[in-house]
Amino acid sequence: MRKSLRVLLLGLVVCSFILGSISVAFTQVAPQIPRNETIIVDILGGRVVNPKRFNSWVIGVSSGTDSGIQQLMLEPLWCVEYAKGRVLNVLAKEPPIYNKDFTQMTVKLREGIYWSDGVEFTADDVIFTVETLKNKPGMSYNTEFNMYVDKISKTGKYTVIFDLKQPNSRFHTYFLDRWGACRFMPKHIFEKVEDPLKFDFYPPISLGPYVLKDVDPAGYWRLWERRKDWNRTAVGKMYGMPKPKYVLFIYYGAPEKKAMAQIKHELDMCDLTMESFRAVLQQNQYARGYRKDFPWVVNIDPCITGITLNNAVSPFNIKDVRWALTLAIDIVDTIGIAFDGAATMGALLIPPTPAYLRWYYRPMETWLKNFALDIEVDGKPFKPYDTNAPYRLAEYCKKRGYTVPPESQIKNVFGYGWWKYAPEVATKLLERQGFKKGADGKWLLPDGKPWKITITTGTNPAHPQYRNGFAVAQQWRKFGIDVEVKTSETAGTEGTYGKYEAITTWPAQEPWGGHPDLYRTFSAWRSKYVKPVGEAAIGAAGYISRWSDKKLDGIIDDMEKTAWDDPNLTKLGIEGLKILVEEMPSIPTFGYPGVVGWDEYYWTNYPGAENSYQQPYHHWPNFKFMLPYLKSTGRK
């Protein structure tokens, strides 16, 4: 018996060694693909469950859009570039040309652009795509194109004319890439297809600088190779040759696995959690974040985080209550709890990126400083704006042992200001609405019942939404409100149907990012789109706060009549933001702190804070514009 056991155990050990010795160390690139010519980046959206599908023109379907389809394969007419705050002309030669009443849009295409199979990209592809999407229910933009496009025609090979059924000064934004846009189908392929919905488009041809080389049948990676004729693509014409010969998109899994891969130099660019990023920094001397030093994070993401309040539910329908909740938040403490100080505060319902600081935060600074609530403190109207908040945050970070940027950089790194931490003013605001404190020091509603707030959030503890929820709950508890944080897989649905009090969904619809137009942001609060509780809101951020204002409606109407390139748009934006400050329908906290890990072992010259030539994410469509700037270190 003992002998049998020994044989069994020995067998197991031998098997392990045989399997283990087959390859001494694993590398994630195929032997015929040189690592030093390959950049390996993470697939943000996870494993592609339908790996051989490249048709990205079906509504709501993502077959790994961020595994190279939008970054390397397809091109838009225009693309948002939020690092500098501009819109790039990609397949279009110039911005759109509208007629006076915005019923016609002319697009001039860049010449000399070719699909990877050698067929030229022309107006015919644009017309075919728009007509196909318009005629086939279930395709992306089918509803919108039916609503707006009366006729699409061409004058020559490179000029497309859209005749619209109704005026639309922003019709071109359907073709403006901001992590999604109407991109184009190759007419010569799709015109032979019986049902464009069912067509997999595999193997795909490409309009971008890379073409698909290989795909994992299990969906964990997609490998792309630089086109030999890269100079016949928009990227080639705009910025020159993309430097990596190959781009491997791979999904490693949870952040700890991405960290393991990056430590071993098997993943050049990825999204991480702050904790996994710190682990990478400690163990990989070539690793860096968006900033080389604290606070490391990307602070140019065009998204503002915060707490959305349900304005259709009492007492959040009262302006004084919303402002009291804002003044009960110590933003320094909040950012400290949520991200250990590594975030840029934003007092407005737009992101505090360099572009929006330039367009709105800075021009509004005087107004913000003078803005007063209709309540007096020491006989004077109370002015809630706190320009000192970023400096307090810098002090907090110093105390935590971090080296903070020099004083001249404080505003750019930590923000321009926030709302004063003024619990005594918050108390006054609540008391004049009939709220009072009970014997236990907890707030009671005007009807005498205990005031309990439930903050709903998602289930991912690393997400800024989740962290915002717990950090703000802490502030409100300190103020004397009984707060519960409810984590839920269905938080999104609860928000949509208005079944919440406070939720951590973005407090405002994200603006374009690369353009001062705030039409997209403000539209979410348009009176005609507000839905009652129990009925699905039209969209998520902004819409679900179920707040509207007649004055803001007027501004949105004016925006519709104002051309996209009219300087008056910024003025209208400022007027709208003033209303939002006065009403505070939801509470902004800080800009989305993106945690990216970049390994400089094989590649350098990433667009970090010190050289922000492009947006920094590998999952954005703009990734292709970054590739010509990368430099190989020459390491094998």
Binding site: L19, V24, V61, P217, Y220, G253, T493, T496
Partner: protein, 335 residues
């Protein structure tokens, strides 16, 4: 004939009823969830950054309802569902529209089936043999060591065991890959290289499942055997001079196997549900991730497709075990 009428036929009817009820429940339950697939699709589009004109949203909802087959009463949808099911069609996936659910399942299922079938059988065989031996020879030191190891492993959460193996053999000693089912650039044509490659990728996930699975089977078998060894027929065999090898394999383990066989049938049936944590930790392809995605995106058809396969798998496993039970237990006769 008596066997067919008195046992097999009622048993098959019971099997079909179980599948029918299970399938009906699977049809109804997702529709009671707060997640709405139409709303999920719209949220997916907007969260990705695409701008949907607010005025277009209502019309879009109607279009999606039509495409997803969610128009009509619940009963009408139920009737269409059965009509499709009889053709072996679970309909299109909503999140991957219009790709058929069966196509998505067929991409992931082979990985799960091979991994879980092998690991379930291996851990069952190893666990039961070692558990039987350790139970019979409980006074030996090696038996106590084996029992100690199993008792130590069993309470550790599977996630920790899996992560530990991953860190040890894929990070500190990088001898196994950390992601995928095969190497990048592998040609999926039957060859020795491909088989080795697939085994390398499956090794750590399989090892983690075998370690935990074996310890579970070991402990239960050890417990069963500790009761059997006190039975008269064992003492009688020992006093009659029957060899230990004969007693342990023909009297003790064989009798101890009966409840374990039922457990095996249930475990094999559950293969179709996948092994979500294994897939997540090792980034190994499989149906667990697909099921999780279907739940989080409100993809009714995909959810139903995977769950129905699981119901059929478990029900079939139990039916087969019921039928072949006399082979393992001579006391059972269908007369």
């Amino acid at each position: 004939m008596t066997f067919f009428k008195r046992y097999l036929l009622p048993r098959i009817i019971q099997y079909l009823v179980v599948i029918f009820i299970g399938t009906t429940v699977v049809f109804v339950v997702p529709r009671l969830m707060p997640t709405d697939p139409i709303q999920q699709t719209i949220e997916r589009v907007t969260m990705q950054g695409t701008y949907i004109d607010p005025d277009a949203v209502e019309e879009l909802k109607e279009t999606l309802k039509e495409l997803y087959g969610l128009k009509g009463t619940l009963f009408e949808q139920y009737a269409i569902f059965w009509k499709r099911l009889f053709r072996g069609d679970f309909g299109p996936s909503f999140a991957q529209f219009p790709t058929p659910v069966m196509e998505l399942i067929s991409i992931s299922l082979p990985w799960t089936t091979i991994l879980l079938l092998l690991t379930t059988l291996l851990s069952w065989v190893i666990g039961n043999i070692l558990g039987g031996l350790a139970g019979y020879f409980s006074h030996y030191r090696w038996a106590r060591i084996l029992e100690g190891i199993a008792m130590f492993i069993r309470p550790i959460p599977y996630y920790i065991v899996a992560l530990g193996l991953l860190i040890l053999f894929a990070f500190i000693f990088p001898i196994f890959p950390v992601v995928g089912g095969a190497s990048i650039g592998s040609e999926f044509k039957l060859s020795w290289n491909l088989i080795i490659d697939i085994i390398e990728h499956a090794f750590l996930p399989a090892l983690s499942l075998i370690i935990v699975g074996t310890s579970t089977w070991f402990i239960t078998m050890r417990l069963i055997v500790s009761n059997i060894v006190t039975e008269d027929y064992v003492s009688y065999a020992q006093s009659g001079g029957v060899s230990n090898k004969e007693i342990v394999f023909h009297y003790v383990i064989r009798n101890g196997l009966l409840p374990q066989i039922t457990g095996l049938a249930l475990s094999l049936g559950q293969i179709f549900s996948g092994a979500l944590i294994t897939e997540q930790v090792f980034s190994y392809p499989g149906i667990g991730t697909l099921l999780y995605r279907s739940i989080s995106t409100g993809d009714y058809n995909l959810m139903m497709g995977i769950t129905i396969l699981s119901i059929i798998g478990i029900a079939t496993g139990v039916l087969i075990i019921d039928i072949v039970y006399p082979l393992f237990d001579p006391r059972i006769r269908y007369e």
